[in-house]
């Protein structure tokens, strides 16, 4: 494992906070959108787009790019914020989120906005799409990786398990699922609504390689992504038994970063009042300052 320079980690951490601020502003401005699931996925998506994935924002259709499918489409605010920051489109457009005529639709739409790989929103579908794309890459010996971000409530959908079975059948070692396990869904806690546990054992029994991390700890996220190998079609093929799809079970906090939003299912889709908005902004800005002061945030978790 290569050691990440503390500087690079610090930049990624700050970026994740900044992306939270951008998505908070978008949601407040639109009076609509999902804060909780955007905030829980901030480190995961920031690290994917700014650190791990092979992308060319100036050429969004570049054939050799890695594919990122954001299956939990309701975290569109933070996805849009990240795409803009990464240079796919102008940051000014973020203000149009959920407005009539905007390219920044309530849930992402393929072909509408550069960087959006697939329409998503109806839960579970991205899992299946990513299996198809990973198959297509293997068939054509394209060494791109396929990443798919799934919500925890999302894997209650049956299609996810259909996809999980097929990924193992075809030994898709170029496929990585990332589970944003924040513990809450619209109606309440996951454990009350439809428990997922024992979640690691479930995926292992489906033939997947399972890594469990703290998904709001940037260092852990980066290390988990570092451990994903890019397929090498020039060297002799691996033994079939050694080829497995991977899932990163990322334990996260819903609404992470704003004290009164954390771990509260009401903030799944609630819009903050002016006062709540300002308090949230203050807290998030303090977090960025904290990074400047060298307080690494991973120690604050749990």
């Amino acid at each position: 494992m290569n050691q990440k320079k503390p500087k690079e980690l610090e930049q990624l951490r700050k970026l994740a906070w900044k992306m939270r601020i951008d998505s908070l502003k978008m949601i407040y401005n639109a009076s609509s959108g999902h804060i909780g699931g955007s905030f829980s996925a901030a480190e995961l998506l920031t690290a994917l787009y700014f650190y791990r994935a092979r992308l060319k924002p100036e050429n969004p259709d570049w054939e050799m790019r890695d594919r990122i499918y954001v299956s939990k489409g309701h975290c569109a605010p933070i996805l849009y914020a990240i795409l803009a920051e990464r240079g796919y489109f102008d940051r000014e457009e973020l203000g149009s989120f959920r407005k009539l005529g905007s390219r920044l639709q309530g849930h992402p739409v393929r072909g509408k906005l550069p960087g959006i790989e697939m329409s998503s929103g109806p839960l579970g579908l991205g899992a299946s799409v990513s299996v198809g794309t990973a198959l297509g890459f293997k068939l054509q010996r394209i060494d791109s990786l396929v990443f798919c971000l799934l919500g925890d409530g999302e894997i209650q959908e049956g299609i996810v398990w259909e996809a999980a079975m097929s990924a193992f059948k075809y030994r898709l070692d170029n496929l990585v699922f990332i589970l944003d396990y924040n513990g809450f869904q619209l109606s309440g806690s996951i454990s009350d609504t439809m428990p997922l546990e024992p979640v690691c054992e479930k995926w292992k029994s489906f033939g997947w390689q399972v890594t469990q991390i703290d998904g709001n700890d940037m260092k852990a996220v980066v290390e988990a992504f570092d451990s994903i190998e890019r397929p090498d079609y020039s060297s002799p093929a691996k033994e079939r038994e050694d080829c497995q799809p991977t899932i990163i079970i990322a334990r996260t906090r819903k609404g992470y970063g704003v004290s009164f939003m954390e771990n509260d299912s009401r903030w799944h889709g609630k819009v903050p009042s002016k006062e709540e908005y300002e308090r949230a902004l203050d807290e998030l800005n303090d977090r960025i300052k904290g990074e400047d002061d060298g307080q690494t945030t991973q120690n604050n978790i749990r």
């Binding site: 594919r67 393929r110 579908l125 299946s128 799409v129 198809g132 996809a163 097929s166």
Partner: protein, 311 residues
């Protein structure tokens, strides 16, 4: 015994796989039934079986298409349109992916399994999906021509197939173009508008009617959407009487599409013949069609009734 339409589909798909290496085929444990087995044998690396999982079938097909491949996604029509309805809507129609949904066993064509396995609502569901081209195949020539056309066409397509044993009713010199209806027979008295293998019965009925001195026109519509509005309007206005015939519910299918069109610009009497808002049952294919109101005699009677009503 005439050849089953699905056999031609299987052969033509495998041939197409030879000439176009971008073609991949996905099936859900139905390769023997859908006849993708021919493609599977010739191109095992480009064939994927997801097992009995129709939602994943469509998702995998869409995902494959996003790597530049042309996905042919195969299972029975009712499973594809109903069990996998949301993946079809979101990942194929809405996402506008280059996926070809090949729907086997359209209408009553898998009848021994009973109404649960018959598909009489698929056109209604698919026709309502924005952006989807909806094709309905009637004979062997059409299946071969349509496969080439949908491969050239970039975008989502629903291709309704059939297990029925049929003879060709198109002559080989005919022009096949997505969105263009085909006039099979010209005549001034009544306009039959039809789709699918049932067209063979309409042709038979036209012969019987001719012997009674009634000269009908037949337009076969292989593209339910986009509908050939110009042709239908022109011929319907000229002839003034229309009977639609389809192996589908009278709700939402070809008959509905024709009525929607005519009622907006040139309202005139239309008789819709199809499955009359009821489920089918187990039975031999041809006998089932007879029982559910689609016998040749039923077609003849519909035409003579329409003319008598005017007298």
């Amino acid at each position: 015994m005439a050849k089953q339409l699905r056999i031609t589909y299987g052969e033509a798909l495998a041939e197409l796989g030879e000439s176009d290496r971008r073609i991949v085929v996905v099936d859900a444990d139905m390769a023997e039934g859908t006849r993708t087995i021919d493609f599977k044998k010739r191109f095992p690396r480009r064939f994927f079986d997801v097992g009995i999982a129709e939602q994943n079938l469509v998702g995998v097909g869409a995902g494959l298409s996003l790597t530049g491949l042309i996905s042919f996604v195969n299972t029975f029509a009712w499973l594809l349109t109903l069990r996998a309805g949301d993946p079809v809507r979101t990942l194929v129609a809405y996402a506008n992916t280059n996926v070809k949904l090949a729907a086997g066993y359209g209408g009553f064509s898998g009848p021994m399994d009973g109404a649960s396995h018959e598909s009489i609502t698929d056109i209604a569901v698919m026709r309502a999906m924005p952006g989807l081209v909806v094709l309905s195949m009637g004979d062997h020539w059409e299946v071969k021509m349509a496969l080439q056309a949908v491969t050239r066409y970039v975008g989502p397509v629903y291709l309704r197939l059939s297990r029925a044993a049929v003879d060709n009713f198109h002559s080989t010199g005919t022009n096949f173009e997505i969105g263009r209806g085909i006039i099979l027979r010209e005549g001034p008295d009544i306009l039959f508008i039809t789709t699918g293998p049932i067209t063979g019965r309409v042709i038979e009925a036209s012969g019987k009617l001719a012997r009674k001195g009634i000269d009908v026109e037949i337009i076969e519509i292989h593209t339910i959407k986009p509908l050939d509005k110009a042709l239908i309007l022109r011929e319907a206005k000229r002839i003034g009487r229309v009977i639609t015939v389809e192996e589908h519910s009278v709700i939402g299918g070809l008959g509905s599409a024709v009525c929607e069109l005519l009622s907006e610009t040139s309202p005139l009497p239309v008789r819709r013949m199809g499955i009359n808002d009821t489920f089918g049952e187990t039975g031999p294919y041809e006998e089932l069609l007879d029982l559910y109101g689609l016998s040749v005699d039923d077609l003849v009677k519909a035409a003579t009734d329409m003319l008598e009503k005017e007298d």
